[in-house]
């Protein structure tokens, strides 16, 4: 859910302001390494405004990833040993966005990221008659969110759920990979049927579990596993939106033919027959008679009754018949308070077009605090 900012900060974000900045610090095993007494030259990691930083909930493993360029004179932070602050062996980065206006400032945490790779680093040295001194250094640092850690902690062999409900089991799976879980209020938990086994991928197992309560896995700003409810945009109004953008740089709608009008949902529990959901109403352009039969199949062991199977088929049909057809791409000012899955309302004040949708991906365009951000919504244009 969107990060709660005071009204002053939201006003600053929507208007001309100066002093915004990205602030990156480093930690390793629960201990802050930069800034710390060991590196007195640095009060933060000296990043440049280049790089990239984007969030995408449709990806398989990580949802947020990016790369940053680091450069400074002074003591080199280029990683050489496995426990150096910027080495890719469990070291983590805390990325914050600073908003400033009128003598006030607000520091918005943008998440905790694991360093995945340092593709290159370089040091410039100068030789004096008696000694050689490092006078400057640069490094490129790639990072991903903590899904990487869950995904890498594969099951050691065939495994089965040890808890009775979806949320407790998902939290346990994450905890076994060293990631805590935080569930937003209002999630309806459900029981796990007997006889389920996991395949090797831990993140897949968590996704499957959360799908049973109509959610996708997400990551909080503190680096904890959370659940993002699906399809909140259906029937949503401006009042429901967590993020409002009145005035955008560009507002682009898109339609894709990548839709389905038939869902076959199967389960290997108790010899159930697959449930089928279809669009048959010919007033709908997607009906099987007008578009032709386009079949989407899915299966889940979590569905252990006919009623659950049919409900799942209907929900899935709702998604696959709409999600690809209506995409809204918005280019606007930075909104560090957005989270994936938030309901976003946006209006182009010149053309009067407005839309509401659930945020599926966004891109900060790197680490230039004055750069524009791109938001992709799954939703509808309001008329």
């Amino acid at each position: 859910m969107a990060y709660q900012l005071p009204d002053d900060a939201l006003t600053a974000l929507a208007n001309s302001h100066s002093g915004a900045a990205w602030i990156v610090t480093a930690r390793y095993g629960g201990v802050q390494t930069i800034p710390s007494a060991a590196y007195p030259d640095y009060d933060r990691i000296p990043i440049t405004s280049d790089g990239q930083f984007s969030f995408d909930s449709s990806g398989g493993n990580a949802q947020a990833s990016g790369s940053m360029y680091v450069a400074s004179s002074g003591a080199s932070l280029a990683p050489k040993a496995m426990d150096d602050p910027l080495a890719p062996f469990g070291q983590e980065l805390q990325i914050d966005y600073l908003i400033a206006q009128g003598g006030q400032s607000w520091r918005v945490p943008m998440g905790v990221y694991r360093i995945s790779e340092v593709p290159s680093w370089d040091e410039t040295v100068r030789r004096y008659p008696a000694m050689q001194i490092t006078t400057g250094w640069t490094a490129e640092v790639d990072f991903v969110d903590r899904f990487d850690r869950i995904s890498a902690a594969q099951f050691l062999g065939p495994a089965a759920p040890s808890m009775r409900t979806v949320l407790t089991e998902a939290a346990l799976l994450a905890a076994q990979a060293g990631v805590t879980a935080y569930w937003p209020a209002g999630l309806v938990d459900t029981s796990i049927p007997a006889g389920i086994t996991y395949e090797s991928d831990r993140l897949d197992a968590i996704s499957q579990l959360l799908a049973a309560i109509n959610c996708d896995p997400g990551m909080t700003r503190q680096g904890a596993l959370t659940a993002i409810p699906r399809n909140r945009w259906i029937g949503a109004t401006k009042a429901d939106a967590e993020i409002s953008m009145d005035g955008v740089v560009s507002f682009t709608g898109g339609m894709s033919g990548d839709v389905y009008n038939t869902v076959v949902f199967s389960s290997d529990q108790n010899g159930l027959t697959p449930a089928i959901a279809q669009i048959k109403d010919d007033s709908n352009p997607l009906s099987i008679n007008r578009l032709g039969l386009r079949v989407y199949t899915q299966s889940s062991s979590l569905m252990d009754t006919d009623a659950k199977l049919l409900a799942a088929a209907k929900t899935t049909l709702l998604q696959v018949s709409q999600q690809a057809a209506q995409q809204i791409k918005i280019v606007g000012l930075p909104r560090p308070d957005v989270d994936l899955g938030d309901l976003v309302w946006a209006r182009d004040t010149l053309s009067g077009r407005q839309g509401i949708g659930q945020l599926t991906s966004f891109d900060t365009g790197g680490f230039d605090a004055t750069g524009q951000w791109t938001y992709n919504l799954q939703g509808v244009e309001l008329l």
Binding site: A20, D41, T135, V249, L333, T349, S351, A369, T370
Partner: protein, 262 residues
């Protein structure tokens, strides 16, 4: 605290700082230099061991008035507070007198003279982007940049000085410290990148005097340890055959620091 100004050019002007009046449980200090309201650290004093006292040299002392204070820390790194400030003034004869040096190399300073016409057109643009949000126009302003494209022209009086400047630029890649008098409308400690200073000489004075056309871009303080220690340890080794001899000559470490064997 005491600050002793040395104006001789061997190798350059400097301020020697002696800190003796510190709290008894002080083990390390950081000395701060205050110039025109801006406080920066003295390079050789970053968490310097200071049990019983400390003395060190500020090779980057600005021309004109300057203040120093020391922040004291105990064994656990707790901040014990600051000493009172001491004031010093590096006198100068002409307002155009300046020093150009490698901030990491105490022996590299050369006296130059700022020429008229320099320091004009001071440009410090703010980065940022203008966005047309429908019917509104919004600017996200970034940080103000340091001085860019500054014309910091100067003169050297002798051919030897000209060659020294030449080798300084070679050695540092043009990353130098330019120290000017308070009258010059520039930061008195200007860390800058002089990528291509161009000297022009005249046959009239046998090519002695050179006017340097110099474009400078300001940078943040160049960090790093000092490259050349003021007094190498080997001097003590040469002067005192055994440790006992040194002990007999000096009552404390501080005394040894202050009075190296000549």
């Amino acid at each position: 605290m005491e600050a002793i100004v040395q104006l001789t050019a061997d190798p350059q002007v400097r301020v020697t700082i002696e800190a003796t009046d510190m709290f008894s449980d002080t083990v390390s200090i950081v000395v701060y230099r205050s110039v025109d309201g801006v406080e920066t650290t003295v390079r050789s004093s970053l968490m310097a061991a200071a049990a019983g006292g400390w003395t060190g040299i500020d090779w980057e002392a600005p021309v004109g008035p300057v203040a120093y204070r020391a922040e004291m820390f105990d064994t656990d790194g707790n901040d014990l507070g600051s000493t009172i400030s001491v004031f010093a003034t590096l006198e100068y004869s002409d307002s155009d007198a300046a020093w150009i040096s490698d901030p990491l190399d105490a022996t590299s300073a050369i006296q130059v003279f700022m020429s008229s016409g320099s320091e004009s057109a001071q440009s410090r643009p703010v980065s940022g982007t203008t966005y047309a949000l429908g019917d509104r126009t919004v600017v996200l302003a970034g940080q103000r940049s340091p001085l860019t494209g500054l014309h910091a022209d100067f003169e050297t009086l002798t051919a030897a000085d000209r060659q020294s400047v030449q080798s300084l630029i070679d050695q540092t890649g043009g990353l130098v410290l330019l120290r000017t008098a308070p009258e010059v409308p520039l930061p008195r400690l200007l860390y800058c990148w002089c990528a291509d200073p161009q000297p022009s000489m005249s046959v009239m004075d046998d090519f002695e005097q050179a006017l340097w056309s110099n474009q400078a871009n300001e940078v943040s303080e160049i960090q790093g340890p000092p490259a050349v220690a003021a007094v190498p340890y080997s001097i003590y080794e040469a002067a005192f055959p055994t440790y006992g001899d040194a002990e007999a000559a000096y009552s404390t470490y501080l005394e040894a620091y202050k009075n190296p064997p000549s």
